[in-house]
């Protein structure tokens, strides 16, 4: 007799605006259905903004996400600038793109490493985390911070690119061009990694369109969609960016975890090229529309209307919408859409037909902010028996699957 189990994966990590619990229906080891339930800890950031002015809200926006903090603050700033019709100096636009690319490099290397950790490839995990330190150092050199950079201002940025920072970023580009290849080769040429990630968590292109998949999740399904290409902004208006899709590089697209992995690997190289071009083309001029924040605040207080900002964050399009009301110092309305908001809706499709041992890997494959899958409760409907799988046990199952595969492949 086939037993059906119901497995909730959650609760989610507090660093996420929309934490997610995935309820999996399983028969034996196989996932037959899935339902996603976010909302374990909604922080009410949009509500909080009603009591804060647009400058104070920059710091709220930065705290929507701990990894792509800069993406959120820039999408937010662009929305406010759109509403208040504030023109950002071109040099500031370039510096924004520079930090966005640095953030993409660190976010992608982090994810690539965590995916290796999930399948038990610890050497690649440690190598990746060691490589990532270089970009964290560069971010610290530019902004003084490693996570929440506090570099955004409405109408510009707060820190300029000095010759020292220029040298630091160029060093970083040279470093990764030399050091990233061994990592790329170690992972891509490993047959066990290929066997472990190929055809797991498949999302076909048509479903990626229907479910509004964005970023590397969509591109891993062959979708040529990148905001930097389709709607170029800031430095990308001058420097063309081409969407990276697996079929262009490998002749085929499977829409699986391996394709999402490859897209991110290649995007690290793309970001290195972009960083160099941004530095080469960095125009001279001011870095902020307002020399003093209070002048900007006065302009925003007099503004009335709706504003929209959308940029390509490491995980996909990050959308912010705001509304300002004349005479009111605080934000009248604010809506944040983190990329995981869109991509997590594709999870149920990705889960179906896969094994429990792949569940953690599939969740990770869209690079959600919930890297901490805390625990799963297994309910046996036939006997009403409950068991709890901890995160460690889930990880162990994933690693055991890799070890078994390795043994069978004689590696």
């Amino acid at each position: 007799m086939t037993k059906t189990y119901k497995l909730p994966i959650g609760p989610a990590h507090v660093g996420l605006k929309e934490p997610v619990t995935a309820w999996l229906d399983i028969e034996g080891e196989r996932i037959v259905d899935a339902n996603v339930r976010p909302g374990a800890i909604h922080r009410g950031i949009e509500y909080m903004s009603r009591e804060r002015n647009p400058i104070q809200c920059i710091f709220l926006a930065e705290r929507v996400c701990g990894i792509c903090s800069f993406s959120h603050s820039i999408a937010y700033a662009k929305a406010v600038e759109d509403a208040a019709q504030i023109a950002t100096p071109v040099r500031a636009q370039y510096i924004r793109s520079l930090v966005l690319e640095l953030e993409r490099v660190h976010s992608h290397i982090l994810w690539l490493s965590v995916a290796c950790y999930s399948i038990g490839f610890d050497s690649a995990f440690h190598l990746g985390m060691a490589l990532r330190e270089k970009v964290m150092d560069a971010l610290e050199a530019l902004t003084g911070n490693r996570v929440n950079y506090a570099v955004t201002a409405i109408g510009g940025v707060r820190w300029d690119v000095t010759p020292e920072v220029d040298r630091c970023v160029r060093d970083l580009v040279a470093y990764y061009r030399n050091e990233f290849q061994p990592y790329y080769d170690a992972v891509i040429n490993d047959p066990v990694v290929k066997a472990r990630l190929r055809d797991v968590g498949v999302l076909p292109e048509a479903d990626a369109v229907r479910l509004n998949a964005i970023g590397p999740t969509g591109r891993g399904s062959g979708l040529r969609a990148d905001v930097r290409e389709s709607s170029p902004y800031d430095a990308y208006a001058d420097i063309p960016v081409k969407s990276i899709v697996p079929q262009d590089y490998f002749g085929e697209c499977h829409g699986d975890v391996l394709d999402r992995y490859l897209v991110r690997l290649l995007e690290v190289y793309q970001s290195l090229d972009l960083l160099e071009k941004i530095l080469d083309g960095l125009p001279a001029g001011p870095i902020a529309a307002f020399p003093k924040p209070v002048a900007g605040l006065a302009k925003m207080k007099m503004a009335e209307g709706f504003g929209y900002g959308c940029i390509e964050a490491p995980r996909g399009a990050c959308t912010h919408a705001v509304e300002l009301k004349k005479g009111d110092e605080n934000l009248y309305m604010w809506k944040v859409c983190a990329p995981t908001y869109a991509n997590s809706q594709a999870w149920p499709l990705m889960f179906i037909g896969n094994e429990i041992a792949d569940a953690a890997l599939i969740i990770n494959s869209v690079d959600p902010c919930i890297s901490c899958t805390e625990r799963m409760i297994v309910t046996d409907r036939t006997t009403d028996r409950k068991a709890v799988y901890t995160k460690d046990e889930l990880l162990k199952m994933s690693r055991q699957k890799t070890a078994e595969l390795r043994r069978r492949m004689g590696k």
């Binding site: 339930r37 909302g39 048509a206 709607s231 800031d234 125009p283 709706f306 959308t319 859409c337």
Partner: protein
Amino acid sequence: METYVGTDKKVTVKTAAEIEAMLKERLGDALTASEIREYKTGVCQLPAPHLLVTVTREKFLDLVDALGELDFPHFHVMSGNDDGETIRQISHFSLFRREGRGKEVTVTVTVHIPKNDLVIPSLHSRIPGIDYSEREMFEMLGIDHDGQPNKDLVFLPDGWDRSILPWRRDEKGPNGKNAPDGTPLVRELN
């Protein structure tokens, strides 16, 4: 109406002005406001077109279907606001995001819904990825989407009193109300 995706679907790329003209012709007076913004960036001052339209509730589906004839409307998110007598639902779409450099047109669709009849047709059968946003609008503002198969909570915690609508500014909002454990939902700053 099924979803807009088809294997033989041909995309017709248009500019924001052409889309606006098409919508005006199709919808007539039902299109109560429209505006085109071009936010320019970069040294080359490349414009990013943004079409903002306001449509009556009755013609909301017709408008989205008209967009769906051109390309699958990529849905970003819905925002909304309590404007007093009405609730505003703002849907953020993009067209032509797969059609190459600089082709994307952002389309923002606003609908004003009276508070005494807070219902609007759902887009779920056309754009399945709209699920979270419609449920979010329902739990936060009370907008009921006719045709949405799942009206469960999405971002609010289990056990939430559904008569409390967190984004409302009227008596249905969270001001002065308590959570199930007795703590106030809204605390004064300072």
